[in-house]
Amino acid sequence: MESPAAHSAERYFVPAPSVWPFILTAALVALVAGVSGYLEDDHIGPLPIYVGGALAIAVIFLWFRDIVRESEGGQYSAQVDRTYRWGMSWFIFSEVMFFAAFFGALFYARELSLPWLGGEGSKVATNLVLWPGFEAAWPSNGPANAGGAFKTIPAFSVPLLNTVLLLSSGVTITMAHHALKAGKRLPCILWMWATVAFGATFLYFQAHEYIEAYTELNLTLKSGIYGSTFFMLTGFHGLHVTLGTIMLLVITLRLMAGHFKPDSHFGFEGVAWYWHFVDIVWLGLFIVVYWL
């Protein structure tokens, strides 16, 4: 090997061997095996869920702590920075495709399968033979009235408020970013706390809306295709907002600990990208799930 010091500045950072990925995998398998056992009632008990879940969270924390230390220790070159940018972009793209599957299911149900059940076009026999008298309309819980009659949540009530909250959070995180780039740390931290607050408030209203749906509107997961698409889309979005809020909180605490520089702060930007992604998915939800 040539002298290690010679090219260290521009050399790409290759991390030392790490045991985190292996433990994380073991923890995740314990977690999902535990959940599988729970779903099938085969008496494994909840222990694998708790142990696997706790271990996974701990390992994710430790793994990211390594990354933060490497980053703050100045070991990441501009090329490593580009790696994280590309990596985060493609990760968000994969998330977009995950949501696309559920948006696609909603589109298919509303535009194709429900009209066919109602006897549209060449599918008239489906209606006459299998579901006579069923008329396709949206919202629908299908010809069997799955889950019983239900009411929907009007778009221009809490969902509109939530839209305003998320859009505002998009503004505040941008303000925080500008403050960070200008080297104004205190305004940056304050804008970040505002962003976290918007995210948390959104989640509060979302939880409130779910409780109302279950207790007052009889709108549940079991409410046919409407309930299925409604809760799966908003539910997965809510999970992403939860994760995003935790990420916002982490970078806020890192800012308070003095991390990030005005010209180098991809940890911050990656979270901001993720937050904007969550925001845009919500706009899609607001339009096609609540409004139209």
Binding site: F13, P17, V19, V32, W86, W90, F91, G104, A109, N141
Partner: protein, 547 residues
């Protein structure tokens, strides 16, 4: 853990670390060569397990009537054979090859995200342990086919959630692996290696990785809907609740068709690497190869419903998906003609990798033609769910994808281990494989055309002869692979007195940065970006390279 300490020592102390000792080397490794080796060993273990399952299937089908297993177990075998071979065999084998070769081909020190690379690998043995464990559960393993169509799939017993979650885990593995490959290719190329100077294996993997990132999350969404339909009362695939079982097929095949190209594009890259080496000519039509790969990648997203022609789609859908599917023959034809044109007037020699590559071109094309037949909607109504379909996709997957993997291992194992495989046994392996694989799958075309259905453990008497031939071929092919295993392990472990005495450029006609490093390649290669001589660039014509 131990390594957090060396953060204090700064960068270079652990940029030059050697591997850990013993088992911890493999558990903790962040080295692309170690992980490539792990991927390949895992993939070949899975090929072995999946191969045993196929032998159960073929043994049962040797004669009509029930011979060895119960129908339920037979269906578990067809289901698990497919899942194991696709997600455990072919995909990890290609990822293993990408791990080994992409950094050495583009001149960088490692994949862009080495810890994530480790994670992507270790998910596989854990995920497959979970999936295979379902075979021993109450109610047995999943038996509804690897395509997991509801409502049949929802009748699976205790195995069901284990199957769903293992698919989720394998999806995470694929996505992390794919992001790693894309980022490495986009960000880590040595200066001077522009996109159109990349080796074709790198190009095909770039597009494969893009397909993986785009469609694995869709599969995750599809199986999540299955899970909630079974356990949480949703109605995605229940007409009574306003859903539609056919919806699953659409979502699944939106994943499934690009998946087919995920299984073959890296094979195209391998063959495009090997043929020029042994024809001693530069690849004919490099640019058109790249554009054809991209065109196939794009088209793969708009053909999915050709798997569902008989499901009752509107006529416009049948027509659109028929014509879109037939369009794929154009870029694929470009590739086949380019390979043939590369060999035209070359000074050809037929070492084992070349035999497998030429075998690939010939036999994959047969699978391509039967695919064209299946693409025609009215004709497909006759072939759907028959052994003709089985013959078609096994022709593209076994003498297609698997032959390319074998070719790649023969081609690069001298670089990996520094030891040459045995040429006689390599050639024997090829000829026996080529004979047995045709014996196995060619008669299945006739069986399907005559009306024998797939995924059924029994059949009518008149199909017996061809089934016997097919079974003999399958057992012969399986046994033949032991030649390969011993030949390759001989290189890995230095058996049969094999010496490490190879030059850097093991094949004198080979081009590419991987042939500029010693054989075996040292643990760390290209820690500093190498210069890129024009003679190592795939897309450069021979006459230009000579200057």
């Amino acid at each position: 853990m131990a390594h957090t300490n060396d953060l204090a020592h700064g960068h270079d102390d652990h940029a030059h670390h050697g591997p850990d000792k013993g088992i911890m080397r493999w558990i903790k490794t962040t080295n692309h060569k170690d992980l490539g080796t792990l991927y390949l060993f895992f993939a070949f273990t899975m090929f072995f397990i999946g191969g045993l399952m196929s032998l159960v299937i073929r043994a049962e089908l040797f004669h009509p009537g029930m011979q060895f297993v119960q129908p339920e177990f037979f269906n578990q075998m067809t289901t698990m054979h497919a899942l194991v071979m696709i997600f455990g065999g072919v995909m990890p084998a290609f990822v293993g090859l990408a791990n080994w070769m992409v950094p050495m081909m583009i001149g960088c020190s490692d994949l862009a995200l080495p810890r994530v690379n480790n994670w992507g690998f270790w998910i596989l043995p854990f995920g497959f342990t979970m999936m295979l464990s379902t075979l021993f559960m109450e109610g047995g393993g999943p038996a509804g086919g690897w395509t997991m169509y509801p409502p049949l799939m929802l009748q699976t017993g205790n195995a069901f959630p284990f199957l769903i979650f293992s698919v989720h885990l394998l999806g995470i593995s694929s996505i992390t692996g794919a992001i790693n490959v894309v980022v490495t290719i986009l960000n880590m190329r040595t200066p001077g290696m522009t996109l159109l100077k990349m080796p074709l294996f790198v190009w095909t993997w770039l597009i494969t990785a893009y397909l993986l990132i785009a469609v694995m999350p869709v599969l995750a969404g599809a199986v999540t809907m299955l899970l909630t339909d079974k356990y949480f009362g949703t109605s995605f695939f229940t007409a009574a609740g306003g859903g539609d079982p056919v919806l699953f097929q659409h979502v699944f095949w939106f994943f499934g068709h690009p998946e087919v190209y995920i299984l073959i594009l890296p094979a195209f890259g391998i063959v495009s690497t090997i043929i020029p080496t042994f024809a001693r000519k530069s690849l004919f039509g490099y640019d058109s190869m790249v554009y054809a790969t991209a065109a196939i990648g794009f088209l793969s997203f708009i053909v999915w419903a050709h798997h569902m022609f008989t499901v009752g789609m509107p006529l416009a859908g049948e027509l659109f998906f028929m014509f879109a599917t037939m369009l794929i023959a154009v870029p694929t034809g470009v590739k086949v003609f380019n390979w043939v044109a590369t060999m035209w007037r070359g000074s050809m020699s037929f070492e084992t990798p070349m035999l497998f590559a030429v075998g690939f071109v010939f036999l994959f094309t047969i699978g391509g033609f039967s695919g064209l037949m299946l693409a025609m909607t009215p004709v497909d109504f006759q072939y759907h769910d028959t052994y003709f379909v089985v013959a078609h996709f096994h022709y593209v997957l076994v003498p297609g994808a698997v032959f390319s993997i074998i070719a790649a291992v023969y081609y690069w194992i001298p670089k990996w281990t520094g030891r040459m495989y045995n040429e006689f046994w390599g050639k024997t392996h090829f000829w026996l494989s080529a004979i047995f694989i045709n014996l196995t799958f060619f008669p299945q075309h006739f069986l399907g055309l005559a009306g024998m259905q797939r995924r059924v453990p029994d059949y009518a008497l008149q199909f017996t002869d061809f089934n016997e031939i097919s079974t003999i071929g399958a057992f012969g092919f399986f046994v033949t692979q032991f030649i390969f295993i011993f030949n390759i392990l001989g290189c890995c472990y230095g058996w049969f007195g094999r010496k490490r005495d190879l030059p850097d450029r093991v094949w004198e006609g080979a081009r590419g940065l991987e042939w500029t490093v010693p054989s075996p390649a040292p643990y760390h290669t290209f820690e500093d970006p190498p210069a890129l001589p024009v003679s190592e660039v795939t897309g450069v014509h021979d006459a230009e390279a000579a200057h």
